[in-house]
Amino acid sequence: MTQKAAITAQKIIKAFGQGAAALRALDDVSVDIATGEFFTLLGPSGCGKTTLLRLIAGFEMPTAGKILIDGADVTEMPPNRRPVNTVFQSYALFPHLTVAENIGFGLKMQGRPKAEIAATTAEMLALVKLEAMAERKTSQLSGGQQQRVALARALAPRPKVLLLDEPLSALDLKLRKEMQVELKRLQLETGITFVFVTHDQEEALTMSDRIAVMSAGRIQQVGAPRDIYTRPVNRFVASFIGETNFLPVTATPQGARLSTGDVIAAEGEGSVLIVRPEQLRLGPAGVGAGLAATVTGVVYFGTDIHVNLELSDGTALTARVPSPVDGGADFTTGQPVAVTFQPGAARLIRE
């Protein structure tokens, strides 16, 4: 990311309430979002991701810290003068206006000529494939269509940054998958920087160029989806993105030592060893290397099976192995197995 930052947040603090009762929705948050990237703020509800988005849009003022858009300080600037537009979770379409009037609203407020508004509106209607709906009232549209109007309305003024506040959460699963593809297409076609807020880790992993994982008002980790998934920096990130096995270990010169006495080579530093369930290999007990474990349960998922295991010291693990074909390598409760890790799969993290 050598490009100029589209958005820079510097040491943002946002407190709601006064004095000792004040709640810090954002606690010293700093982040750079590069021009043209699809950047996702990911975290559970209440982590501060929507607050950060509202600060960038200008709906809230930070208690401390600065916000820069394209290098210009906009911290004190009202939302109507910021070159960003928002797609709201509730869509917030104007019920008294038609689809076309909704899409043209931003341009009209900017005082653009009528011909330009008409041309851009037509272009946006085509972009979101709603040409036939131009004269409808927004209440006559389905949820997915309303979603696309909200997108077109926010894109029409060609903002430097598009902010999306959990825009897909009201849609059913099938429509949500379609819109994910659609959003990615729009982002690539328009080249506009997207800042996307979601609590859905799969959505974040599949769509983003980079993800900021947030928790308790702080950014825990920023990185590309692969980095975040394969090299989480702490227990929160490791457990929020995907499933992970956590093993308490002690660091020794040879590697990380489990309480069973086994020593495992692992990158990173810290007192917790993490390994993803799909990176465990199960073999017959007593043959070759591996941790001795007992199968405590098997759950069939179709594409794969989840094998619950217990080490000799009582630590629980889950392995995800390919589904057995024609009754192939299956597992039964009580069966002893040897667990090995794929090379490089085990990592040490801080608590």
Partner: protein, 267 residues
């Protein structure tokens, strides 16, 4: 067996009580309307159908003058009351709760709580002083007095409408480059319009109907329709009063019907 829910309509005597209530409420009005069409001079002895009391009222200069004054006062007063009420409703709903908000509600709704006769006497005394100081004798006093007691009636439907309006629409407008005035002009006002119209109609009807405050505040020769009728009552009652009442009733029913259409919840 399903448990039977309690329904008030199943109670013994429900129908007869309901009928009695409707008769008590509407029979006097019905009588008034019927006798406005009486050809004779009595409001109690029926002599046959005629429209001549309507014609008499129509041609009565005093009635014409009172009607014009009533309409002027109601129009001006409801316009002032609706403007004030709209601003008050915006100020009490479109921002974070503030200290003294309850006090503001009390001030706005004060005319609903203070006995009308008290307000009337207070205004009589105040306007007496002002009249002496300025020499102005016009309808302005009545318009101001009506505007004051009509404001809460205009305020309530406007506030109800605002409270049902999603604040995120105004947020979206500011996000789309609308300055505060444009946001009000292009989003808040169009969405609020039915509430404002409903408030204005209610204020208009309340002003049109007022007797007590008008009777105290008016100068000589400033009768409105209700105070003119009250004056007639002190003399011989003729069906002309019935005719005027019926016309007033008709106007009120039309306005209130519009009010309910404007404020009804959409399905």
């Amino acid at each position: 067996m399903a448990e039977r829910r309690f329904e008030v309509s199943r109670l013994p005597g429900f129908a007869s009580v309901a009928i009695a209530v409707f008769v008590l409420l509407y029979l006097p009005i019905l009588t008034l309307v019927v006798f406005s069409f009486n050809s004779g001079p009595s409001v109690a002895v029926w002599e046959g159908w005629s429209l001549h009391w309507y014609a008499d009222a129509w041609n009565n200069e005093a009635v014409k003058g009172a009607t014009a004054r009533s309409l002027i006062i109601a129009t001006c007063a409801s316009a002032i009351a609706t403007t004030v009420a709209t601003m008050a409703a915006l100020g009490t709903t479109r921002r974070a709760a503030f200290g003294g908000q309850t006090f503001i509600y009390v001030v706005i709704n004060q005319p609903l709580m203070v006995p009308e006769i008290v307000t009337a006497v207070a205004l009589l005394i105040l306007f007496g002083v002002v009249k002496q100081a300025t020499g102005y004798q016009g309808l302005g006093y009545l318009i101001l007095a009506h505007a004051a007691f009509c404001t809460p009636f205009a305020y309530l439907p406007i506030r109800a409408r605002l409270e049902g309006m999603d604040l995120s629409l105004e947020t979206a407008a500011t996000d789309l480059y609308a300055n505060p005035w444009q946001t009000f002009r292009h989003v808040t006002l169009p969405l609020l319009a039915p509430g404002i119209a409903a408030g204005a109609m209610l204020a208009f009807v309340i002003s049109l109907d007022d007797v007590v405050i008008t009777e105290f505040v008016k100068s000589g020769g400033q009768d409105t329709l209700p105070t003119y009728m009250l004056g007639q009552m002190r003399r011989a009652i003729t069906p002309e009063v019935n005719a005027i009442s019926t016309a007033l009733l008709g106007l009120t029913v039309i306005l209130l019907t519009l009010f309910f259409i404007l404020t009804r919840k959409k399905n």
